[in-house]
């Protein structure tokens, strides 16, 4: 896929918005929510600040992460993949977290906070269902009632995750408004929160939404990068590149954060879907424009009147028309670069990693693998590439089999891109 790094460089502060202030990353971020939610965001920010300073909270979180989630997750030196692409490739194994993805790092943190705030009820939005499952899991662990909003399209596509959430004791609300996907599930969760704000905690699943969510979710996910940095140093030195897929961007912020002051290239990989020159993609940074969606000023997919466009990706977890405001800032300062990978290339990488390493990646994470793969043979000598393998692909196997036919998994080797 044609790389368009730095598309967002030098974005000017739009007229009509405050240039900076609380909860801003450069001009990005902020709190664009109904007035009803402002006291709740203030309460949340104060509670979060107090919690992170509280040794008891930190100890509770650390114990759950180690004894329940299964942290630290290892890094794996991907020997055969390294040989195939011509660089040392390491995988940060978030696929080994309980529930199969990094999402749980955030939900155990937020639900501990909800319990500390005395909230009896937690709501969440979910697209593919991974954040919904992670929320339902943490809610079961902590004895909190969870209600999950999920678009009708996704409920149909991800029936297994709907069942998992119900099995875990959560209630799943099917959202039939708008495009019936993640963006509308998020709208509906916000409407619920506006209505039940006094006793309900809203657990956002990515580094999106109004302040303090982008910062708080990043902080809860930053454990990924802290571990990975230590592990890389122990394995011979810092990576030259850290690569992660970006939908809303929580796994990417989680791994980038610890490396932000290191001489390390930070690479975010968005979903180019059927191509950036078509309307069917989800690459907000590579091909979007600045605007406000779900409470934050960031990059998003929209038309000239500011109506939000539908996103598309083969990977439901990247199928979102916005991106976290800190990514918009990292793109605009040039500290991170953002590229986009097509559905077809992500599917090919899904097969390559399965075959080469015995690791079936989530289709989301396969985008990061695909970008590394796309540079095969071009990596400079001494390149050490760390990929955040944000989730495992069991959830995607049925979809891939249905698209490609179970008898013909992807073809063989580098030019076996059989996906039509």
């Amino acid at each position: 896929m044609g790389a368009r790094p730095g598309h967002a460089v030098g974005v000017e502060q739009p007229e009509g918005l405050r240039p900076r202030g609380r909860g801003r990353f450069g001009p990005f971020g902020g709190q664009f929510v109904p007035e009803t939610l402002m006291p709740a965001l203030e309460e949340l920010e104060q509670a979060y600040r107090a919690a992170r300073r509280d040794p008891a909270f930190r100890k509770d979180l650390a114990q759950i992460l180690s004894r329940y989630v299964g942290r630290p997750t290892p890094i794996t030196a991907a020997e055969r993949l390294s040989e195939a692409v011509g660089a040392r490739v390491y995988l940060k194994r978030e696929d080994l977290c309980h529930t199969g993805a990094h999402k749980i790092n955030n939900t155990v943190g937020q639900l501990l906070l909800a319990r500390r705030m005395g909230k009896q009820r937690v709501i969440a939005e979910t697209g593919a269902g991974q954040h919904g499952v992670a929320t339902a899991t943490a809610a079961a662990l902590l004895g909190i009632k969870a209600e999950i909003y999920m678009g009708a399209e996704d409920v149909a596509r991800q029936a297994l995750n709907v069942y998992r959430m119900r099995l875990l004791g959560a209630e799943v609300h099917t959202v039939t408004s708008g495009s019936r996907t993640l963006k509308d599930a998020t709208n509906e969760a916000i409407r619920d929160w506006v209505t039940n704000v006094r006793h309900t905690y809203y657990a956002i699943g990515s580094v999106v939404g109004p302040h303090p969510y982008p910062t708080m979710v990043r902080d809860f996910q930053a454990v990924i990068g802290r571990e990975a940095r230590r592990q890389m140093l122990a394995a011979g030195g810092l990576p030259t590149h850290v690569v992660a897929c970006v939908g809303g961007g929580s796994n990417a912020m989680g791994i980038f954060h610890a490396f932000r002051r290191d001489p390390v290239a930070l690479v975010g990989v968005e979903a180019a879907g059927e191509g950036l020159d078509t309307p069917r993609h989800a690459a907000s940074l590579s091909a979007g424009t600045p605007g406000v969606l779900h409470g934050a000023f960031s990059y998003l997919l929209q038309d000239g009147d500011g109506q939000i466009r539908l996103a598309h990706s083969v990977s439901a977890g990247l199928d979102y028309p916005g991106v976290g405001p800190e990514h918009a800032h990292l793109a605009s300062t040039g500290r991170a670069e953002y590229h986009a990978v097509s559905d077809a290339d992500a599917l090919a990488a899904f097969h390559e990693l399965s075959r080469l390493e015995g690791i079936i990646p989530a289709l989301e994470s396969a985008h990061a693998v695909a970008w590394v793969w796309s540079r095969r043979g071009q990596w400079p000598a001494g390149a050490r590439v760390l990929i955040n393998l944000s989730g495992r692909g069991d959830k995607d196997v049925e979809q891939v089999a249905a698209q490609q036919g179970p008898g013909a998994p992807g073809g063989g080797g580098s030019d076996g891109r059989s996906h039509a």
């Binding site: 739009p14 007229e15 009509g16 918005l17 405050r18 902020g30 709190q31 664009f32 929510v33 109904p34 007035e35 009803t36 402002m38 006291p39 408004s177 708008g178 963006k183 509308d184 709208n187 916000i190 409407r191 506006v194 209505t195 039940n196 704000v197 006094r198 424009t289 600045p290 605007g291 406000v292 969606l293 779900h294 409470g295 000023f297 929209q302 038309d303 000239g304 009147d305 500011g306 109506q307 939000i308």
Partner: protein, 286 residues
């Protein structure tokens, strides 16, 4: 006397700013102002002039005109559905400006535009405000632009004499109520913690909320969200300076879009009568 005032204002409208026209709506009136809400572009933009005329004919005092948005997170099902239908019918901002340019010059009531913040940013805030003011729009209500984020937009609206209407909710802290004292036009009091929509009953504490708000903000207070029936409007009107009815009216239009203008006049007339009857019994006896 209210009518005389209204005539005078209408006659001299060309020299009045949007803020002044809104002030005139609330000045020295014996009963609460009726402010019906329409989704612009529902059923389609071509019928907006007739619908605006229908609201005036029914006895409205000001109009709140909603700009359809793809992701209206402060709206309940009725206004979401109307916005979705309007967008599907081809609504564009340029189309709206074309209609308002043609109509508002001779329209008797001040029109306040309700829009989410992203369409404003997409057009460029200065250009949006310029376009709205040029068309004769009296003010803006932006439900996802809290007062803490509103100062830059407010500078732009003030330059054009337009009101940027602050909102207050039952859970607004005293500091917010103090901040919005410097607002223009009126304060939009949201009667419930929740989204727009028809409700069987008024929030139990809505009258107390309205009077607390009036005392705190020193501006006229119009109450909206969940006010549906003439009786409910009359009850709220005993305390509030203005009553906003949105979802109930739009739902009625959606049940009979072919006769939208007649439906609008009938509904607004019933609400206006109830408000002028005052003291809460008006709606029930008619």
């Amino acid at each position: 006397m209210g009518d005389l005032m209204h005539e005078a204002v209408t006659g001299g409208r060309a020299r009045l700013t949007g803020v002044q026209r809104l002030d005139a709506v609330f000045r020295a009136r014996p009963t609460a102002a009726l402010m019906p809400y329409l989704t612009a572009g529902y059923p389609d933009l071509a019928r907006l002039p007739d619908l605006l005329a229908a609201l005036a004919a029914g006895g409205a005092d000001a109009v709140e005109l909603g700009v359809p948005f793809s992701d209206p997170l402060a709206d309940g099902p009725a206004l979401q559905a109307a916005a979705t239908a309007a967008l599907a019918a081809g609504f564009t901002l340029d189309g709206l400006w074309a209609v308002l340019d043609r109509v508002l010059g001779t329209y008797s009531l001040p029109v306040v535009l309700l829009t989410y913040v992203n369409p404003i940013l997409a057009h460029g805030a200065a250009r949006f405000v310029e376009r709205a003011a040029g068309a004769g729009v009296a003010g803006l209500i932006v439900p996802d632009l809290p007062w803490a984020e509103a100062a830059p937009l407010r500078r732009l609206t003030r330059q054009r004499g337009m009101a940027l209407v602050p909102m207050a909710t039952p859970n607004s802290p005293p500091a917010h109520l103090k901040d919005i004292r410097s607002g223009d036009g009126f304060v939009y009091g949201v009667s419930v913690t929740g989204v727009t929509g028809v409700r069987d009953q008024l929030a139990p504490d809505v009258l107390a909320f309205a009077s607390r708000l009036k005392e705190a903000v020193g501006l006229p207070v119009a109450i909206g969200f969940g006010i549906s029936t003439p009786d409910q409007a009359a009850q709220v009107g005993t305390v509030a300076d203005g009553v906003i009815v949105g979802s109930a009216l739009v739902s009625a239009l959606m049940q009979d879009p072919r006769h939208a203008a007649q439906v609008a006049t009938t509904r607004v007339r019933a609400l206006a009568r109830a408000l002028k009857g005052g003291r809460g019994e008006g709606g029930k006896t008619r």
